[in-house]
Subunit: 442 residues, 2 copies
């Protein structure tokens, strides 16, 4: 066996790594506390040693930290080239994405990935089965040697975390038949096809230990993929979903034993009233490993606005203990996002993550809200713009609305001067105090 | 005293009005159940008799009904004319607004209002103090006779519900001094100014019975305004807010006694973890009168995206029992909304209301989601568009994304054909079943 050390093994040996120090500083938390959380598996620091050498700025994903958000990017076989994808990656990070996943399935798959890893300082994730299948004529031709090679190749490139659908078993397939929408995970549906064709168990399940050996050598973090996440409200919290989640719990223990860091992917489409239960089940069955959810979307009919249906579910999920939200863009269910969609998706989920951080009382989370409120009280428009998630848009909207008037510093076009509540409120309080003082002095 | 009958008095007399019948049909509920809810004050049907004659389609606002959403419209002294405001009203209703409030404070205030009432079939609300103050040189000149006249005039025009800030008392003003952002309600800040100048109690509080007499003559529904709603997270759930809410509870009983229908306006800016408590307090202190909230916004830093910060809070509020959400547009805190902002605001809050209705298990609420899921399973794109909140936008986004390929009916540009999970899932299940049957037959 190759010698290895991961954030997990270091933490378990009582050592605080430089990465833990950085995360502690980012989160205003004690390094020793971070170490303990990593040792217990409640916090991961996806930091491939090769990406660290290339300048990765590590981030902590776990219940003790600020809620993180991920942006999925990457071309598909029928859309988008390298320049365009890199522009989206940069836009996502500029808007505040904490990690990015390169989900390319089209051409130049290795080149795009390497370019992304080399140029960004945030953790990068992938779904290796996309490349495996891309390189084959059909999914049925996939052999264990193929995906072990691709996983190693991607690990060597510096990928920080990988999604593999290891927990979807043959015995789950009959449970899927009851569903309205079947399997909506791309990776999950490929694994299901392979199992159905070969009438054999999921090869990612049977070769889990071999993959753990590769991942831990680079300290690539597991992101155990939820191949059976519900794709609609009707399928939410069903037998298939929870059967897979329980297998993810088993694999978490196995990966931990082998020294790997683990997070768990989650749904999907979930009605609001089932979100808390879903998060609690994951925490219990997966032993506290960080939960990383896609949405959840709280309705199926949000096409064109699914960044909002997802931000609603995501806020609540994060409030109940989810550690990372995968963004969803307005184009979800309709097509690949363009630059504007990426921006809208990232900002909606930054809002969700922040709202949850405030509600959970995370250290200093509300500071920016309080600064904003003071800036509003003082009509300090410049400060208001700079404290917004998207200063450029906020400024543009404000300027649009005042274009017809002469620089109204102490009111805006929502109310005009006579009806400005902040002006009037201030005047009222001043007058009331004076009045009371006069009365007292009589 | 003039003779009068309102939905409330009719319900209390055991009579089911035509309006109750209509609401029952809309909500898939029993008319007798609707009558009971109206009698108990948990449901209002804002239907001014004059607007009914002009073709109002009445709507029920209460915990037993689908969550409603309101769109605020109207010009301000420094922006927008009549044509533009009417276009916004029509856009809001087309996108699904269940009621509209005309908050005009600029010119042509009577003409705009009459035009809106005459042309829309949804309930129309106003905030009469805007007109009172508009017609005076300054708020200090306001006399009870002025606002009683304006309220009667607006009632005669057919306004279905009116917001008056009756519950903000002089004793509350010192509580406001502790706040970061003071009073952010336009009406509330005007009332506060009047009280401070005259060193007298809120005239809307002292003349409450006279206003009740006018309102019940037309069956205008009270919307007791929350002059002290928190305008930032730092001020949420403070003494000032809850002191006013308790007075609203007193006034609810008084208005009920006089035969009026009542709903209660609510916040504002509230962190996610305080929303449930806020809704519970309102229900208890205001004796179950329907709660109508503005947002709540779950962070202060969403400028440019406050339709999202509001939709997040609104979903949760509605889930806990709020009956109507007032929309917030992306321009909130920045300027008056344009047509595109109105659309974005309405749709975000339709999503919020619908997600809450699904989570509360309201009758038939989830039907549209299930239809959408089946349409997705069948690659029925036309049906998917038609079931969306905004078919036009959904279609446009989808068409953008397929423009480079030849009409891909059974996949979209998100994944392409090889990676389409729905195709692959279907193939996998078919194969798996065949495989099992073959095995069984061996």
């Amino acid at each position: 066996m190759l010698p290895f050390s991961t954030q997990r093994t270091e933490a378990q040996s009582g050592r605080i790594t430089p990465e833990m120090e950085i995360v502690a500083a980012q989160e205003y938390l004690d390094p020793e506390f971070i170490r303990k959380e990593v040792a217990q598996g409640r916090l991961v620091i996806p930091a491939n040693k090769i990406h660290m050498e290339k300048g990765l700025n590590p981030a902590g994903i776990g219940i003790a930290c600020r809620t993180k958000i991920n942006a999925n990017l990457g071309n598909s076989p029928i859309s988008s080239g390298m320049g365009c994808e890199l522009a989206k990656v940069n836009c996502a990070i500029q808007c505040g994405a904490d990690t990015v996943m390169d989900l390319s399935t089209g051409e130049q798959i290795n080149e795009i990935r390497q370019k992304i890893i080399d140029s960004v300082q945030v953790p990068v994730g992938t779904v290796p089965i996309y490349q495996v299948v891309e390189e084959l004529e059909a999914v049925k031709d996939m052999r264990p040697v193929d995906f072990l090679r691709v996983i190693e190749q991607q690990a060597k490139q510096g990928v920080d975390y990988m999604t593999v659908h290891c927990a979807l078993l043959r015995e789950h397939l009959p449970l899927v038949e009851k569903r309205t929408l079947g399997i909506v995970s791309r990776g999950g549906s490929l694994v299901a096809q392979w199992m159905a064709i070969h009438q054999q168990e999921n090869p990612f399940y049977t070769h889990f230990s071999e993959m753990c050996e590769i991942l831990r050598a680079y300290d690539v973090t597991w992101s155990l993929g939820d191949g059976l996440r519900p794709g609609c409200l009707a399928d939410a919290s069903d037998e298939a979903q929870f059967a897979e989640l329980k297998v993810m719990g088993e694999l978490t223990l196995k990966a931990w034993e082998m020294g790997c860091q683990v997070m768990i992917e989650g749904p999907g489409h979930i009605p609001l009233d089932q979100i808390e239960m879903n998060v609690k089940n994951q925490m219990e069955w997966c032993h506290g490993a960080p939960f990383y959810v896609l949405g959840p979307l709280v309705t199926d009919v949000g096409a064109g606005y699914d960044h909002i249906t997802s931000a609603i579910g995501g806020t609540l999920a994060a409030y109940y203990g989810v550690s990372m939200l995968c963004y969803v863009t307005p184009k979800e269910h309709l097509g690949l996002p363009n630059l504007q969609d990426v921006r809208a998706g990232v900002i909606a989920h930054k809002i969700a993550a922040h709202a949850a951080d405030v509600a959970r009382g995370r250290v200093h989370a509300r500071d920016v809200d309080d600064q904003m409120s003071r800036a509003r009280a003082e009509f300090d428009w410049e400060k208001q713009f700079s404290l917004s998630f998207d200063p450029e848009t906020a400024r543009k909207m404000h300027e649009e609305s005042i274009s017809e008037t002469e620089s109204p510093h102490e009111y805006c076009s929502m109310c005009g001067p006579k009806f400005c509540s902040i002006r009037n409120s201030r005047a009222a309080l001043r007058l009331n105090k004076n009045g009371e003082q006069e009365r007292d002095s009589v």
